[in-house]
């Protein structure tokens, strides 16, 4: 039987997001407009929370977007009817903006690859940086995060991110 270990509780997630916001705030080029875009669905929830936290770190007017990567996935053909298309909602121009792309877990890197292609179809951002709550080993593409909440080193462990908005509670589990 596998054992489940709580990696972050609600307070831990709050602190981690606040630290990510502080790191991101320091990295924004002077005068650049900031846009935070989350990969649906949990990345989108985290993006909203990051934007709240960024207010405490001197960035009050940050644009919020949600990106659905279904149409750009490289496993679309294998997913079949399980591929449920959701809305991409980015109601600002990403041209000339400093974009923070947000996801819950960085694992194979394939979701991020799809997200980068989707973003490129929306315009040419000044720069795109990647922020993730959890970084776990298992990359299948040369993609790394710029801002990491918490790092898991064990290759065999599976990460489960639960968020209040999507799962009813805030918790990150290892199992």
């Amino acid at each position: 039987m596998s054992t489940t270990q709580v990696l972050l509780d609600a307070a831990g997630i709050r602190r981690t997001i606040d630290r990510l916001a502080a790191d991101i705030a320091r990295s924004v080029p002077a005068g650049a407009s900031l846009g935070v875009i989350g990969i649906r669905s949990r990345g989108d929830v985290l993006a909203a929370r990051l934007i709240e936290a960024l207010k405490r770190h001197g960035h009050a007017n940050v644009a919020h977007g949600a990106l659905d990567i279904t149409l750009y996935r490289d496993d679309l053909a294998h997913k079949g009817p399980d591929a449920i298309l959701k809305k991409t909602e980015i109601d600002f121009d990403i041209e000339d903006r400093y974009i923070i792309l947000v996801d819950d877990v960085l694992y194979t890197g394939r979701s991020v690859r799809a997200a980068l292609n989707a973003l490129a179809d929306l315009g040419r951002a000044i720069a795109v940086r990647l922020a993730v709550l959890v970084d776990r080993p298992g990359r299948e593409l040369p993609i790394q995060a710029d801002f990491v909440g918490i790092r898991v080193d064990d290759v065999k462990e599976t990460v489960n991110v639960l968020l209040r908005e999507t799962d009813g509670q805030d918790r990150v589990d290892l199992s």
Partner: protein, 334 residues
């Protein structure tokens, strides 16, 4: 009139109902042949997918890679401008390649059968057949014989499912719901595949549908499809949330279905004068092409209640959704 007129459910050659699908919110059909067989959940699933696709058309790069490397064939045995263009553009926005096939001037005119024509096209390696044919049931017949995904783009007087989906999607978008709405469909109901697809879809989603027109074009037995029948537009108009005006086909004006164009306009044409009887927020629809001054006055077609161009815009999103969903369903059988 034949006994099978209303739904034409049993009229099309080779039309067989697909077995009822298990209750599911996902889409598992490799073909879209009509709205008669779809559940309310399946209709809503298409709408939800189409809502997401609307965003793609607002971008400066109006293209997504979902159907890259796939080939869509527009196989039209009847005239079409809007539907054909809409399918072409929808396929291109999904990165599919499109082959246009026009029956006129093709080997069909040399006597080739429908199935031989299609098998020859299929041999070139295609994935989707968008079929319009004058025979009701032609797409159903092909769906049983070929490998490709078949999408019905209008079969005889039977169904025009994507147009039905567009109309219902547009109503839902502008009225916020379907359930409880009263929709009047006016015109040549007996011969209209658009009317049939609308009636099936709307009634499944809980709308009340009244079909309106002269007795020669709206037989009483249409009521067996689950709608009300009226021959008096002025009586229905004040109670309708939506009026869907169908094109009066010019070729029928010369026949004996109604005495004169003038009389049709006087009794069933939607004029500004007549619009005063309607609710201020009534939605005026038309699947096109409009005969201005016949079923629809020009100032009503261009007026504030008209959703005609919105229907055309939504057509792209609906057709992208349908192509995407039937393609995803092909993954089931590997």
């Amino acid at each position: 009139m034949s006994q099978t007129l209303p739904g034409l459910a049993h009229a099309p050659t080779g039309h067989e109902k697909t077995p009822p699908s298990p209750p599911t919110t996902t889409w598992r059909r490799r073909h879209l042949l009509g709205l008669e067989d779809l559940s309310a959940e399946e209709l809503l699933h298409i709408f939800q997918t189409a809502e997401s696709f609307k965003e793609v058309s607002t971008r400066s790069i109006k293209k997504v890679p979902a159907l890259r490397g796939k080939v869509v064939v527009n196989l039209f045995f009847e005239d079409s401008t809007r539907t054909r263009n809409s399918f072409t553009l929808a396929a291109q926005r999904l990165s599919a390649d499109v082959l246009e096939f026009a029956a006129a001037g093709s080997s069909v005119s040399k006597g080739e059968t429908l199935l031989d024509t299609v098998r020859n096209i299929e041999a070139m390696g295609i994935d989707f057949l968008v079929v319009r044919h004058s025979a009701g049931g032609a797409p159903h017949y092909l769906a049983r014989k070929v490998r490709s995904c078949v999408i019905n783009a209008g079969d005889g007087q039977h169904e025009h499912p994507t147009q039905g989906l567009i109309d219902i999607f547009t109503i839902r978008e502008l009225k916020g719901r379907i359930e409880g709405l009263h929709v009047a469909i006016v015109g040549d109901i007996a011969h209209s595949r658009v009317a049939r697809s609308n009636i099936w879809g709307l009634t499944k989603l809980g709308a009340r549908v009244t079909v309106v027109g002269p007795t020669t074009l709206v037989p009483r037995m249409m009521a067996t499809m689950g709608c009300d029948v009226s021959h008096d537009l002025d009586e229905v108009l004040p109670h309708a949330d939506v009026i869907n005006m169908l094109r009066i086909q010019n070729e029928r004006i010369t026949s004996r279905v109604f005495p004169s164009t003038e009389e049709y306009v006087r009794l069933f044409g939607l004029t500004r004068e007549r619009m005063r009887r309607a609710r201020p927020d009534v939605l005026v629809m038309h699947p096109g092409p409009v005969n201005r001054g016949i079923e629809l006055a020009a100032d009503v077609a261009d007026g504030p209640n008209s959703s005609i161009l919105r229907q055309v815009t939504n057509g792209l999103a609906i057709r992208m959704a349908v192509l995407f969903l039937v393609n995803q369903a092909t993954a089931i059988d590997g």
